[in-house]
């Protein structure tokens, strides 16, 4: 990987992978923060007719009692009712699966969707729940002290960060 990796090719792959789902007139929903950046680009590229939704999963996190409330809650905006609709859920990185678990719970509190498809820019190793992506920009195997981070919001690039020991 180059120092930081541009995400254009990954977005192109995601857009291609999502083609089969488009005839169901899906609602695209990005997860704050990186997932929204990715979703905005995909939404534009695919020219989806329905407005983009955003999810802030702060109120559904499983570590609230331990970690407290995220100091920057942005709130969720789902402009179109999700009941009986097909959802394209978009995030930047799929790692443990806990964010997606929380996002699914939140979506179901808005209504019962017909289906949910998960699209992620990067899927990495380290799953802690039985959650997998349907459409993937690229796969990465990283060490336990490594993190992949999407830098944005303007020029989106991927960077690998390491915990200082």
């Amino acid at each position: 990987m180059t120092p930081t990796e541009a995400v254009e090719p990954l977005l192109a792959r995601l857009a291609g992978g999502l083609q089969p789902y488009l005839e169901r007139r899906p609602i695209m929903v990005g997860i704050h923060t990186g997932g929204v950046w990715v979703a905005e680009r995909l939404h534009r590229r695919l020219a989806l007719p329905e407005p983009l939704g955003t999810l802030d999963i702060s109120f559904y996190r499983d570590d609230f009692t331990r970690a407290g409330l995220n100091p920057e809650v942005r709130g969720s905006q789902l402009p179109v009712p999700v009941a009986d609709r097909h959802i394209l859920l978009v995030d930047d990185v799929l790692h443990t699966g806990r964010t997606i678990r929380a996002a699914l719970n939140e979506i179901f509190d808005y209504g019962r969707p017909a289906s949910v498809v998960l699209a992620v820019l990067v899927e990495r190793d380290g799953r802690e729940l039985p959650i997998q992506a349907d459409v993937v920009g690229r796969h990465m195997d990283l060490g336990p002290h490594q993190h992949v981070k999407l830098l944005g919001p303007e020029d989106l690039r991927l960077a690998i960060l390491e915990d200082a020991v």
């Binding site: 570590d63 995220n70 009941a83 719970n105 808005y110 944005g152 960060l161």
Partner: protein
Amino acid sequence: MTAPDLQLDADGRLKHLLTIEGLPRELLVQILDTAASFITLAEKEIKKAPLLRGKTVVNLFFETSTRTRTTFEIAAKRLAADVINLNPQHASTRKGETLLDTIHNLEAMHTDLFVVRHPNSGAAFLIAGHVPPHVHIINAGDGRHAHPTQAMLDMFTIRAHKGDFGALRVAIVGDLLHSRVARSQIHALTTLGAGEVRVIAPKTLLPVGVERLGVHPYHDMRAGLEDVDVIIMLRLQRERMHGAFIPSAQEFFNLYGLTPDKLARAKPDAIVMHPGPMNRGLEIDSAVADGPQSVILPQVTYGIAVRMAVMALVMGGSPLPPRRPRRAALKEGGA
């Protein structure tokens, strides 16, 4: 131990909410911002943000209340907590049980959060000093002392309708002497940097030395309302008056009741607030209470989101660990 010491943990996070006095501005802003994020909940089919799932909240009201208790109950339920409502003036305390005994018994039932209203100033403070660290206290009104969640929902209302506090002239009108709401509002407004805070009341209903709190006292309501952006009316607390505080109800209404002609002294887009319950025809005219400048009902709605925010903040665990410094292995470009 002072109230701020008791309210905040070693990392400056809110552990109990007992009074606004002494809380830092950032914390008040955090409460308002968190409440704003709960407002969108009303759009959901299932109006839940299940942060307190499995937690037990006891609403312990030694004084009667409908609005405050109900909004606390709805707030706790929207956070998915289990809620129990108790009005101990009808039960054990009548049999001689002390306040702390009541609390310790409820603690033994694994309560996580107490919302306490009590006729004695300092009751919530006393309880907070005697509960184990995992139990949290929210003051829902203690005597004449404080009613912090009411003040915060008023701040939320002002911010939602008027924006930046620095540009605002706010008048609090009526029975300030008996009002725990007014005391909390004054602390909140001065902490949030309101441009000017005026208090308007007859001498008998203004606490001595109120100007030391950073407010400008007025006895003439028309002069006091000149060019204000926000008017907060207080309830005349006749149940707490044991003496001649006002000459007569009619006289009080003539001098300090908010009528359309007195309201005309304020800015044309001024908002009118009241913590409820209103005494129509005593401190406020129905034409104003139900008029276009009244935000009295939105206040009630915002109260749910603000109480959710306070509950979520006091119940949230230890602070998010400060981000460990990470070495960007590959750093170039990007943000």
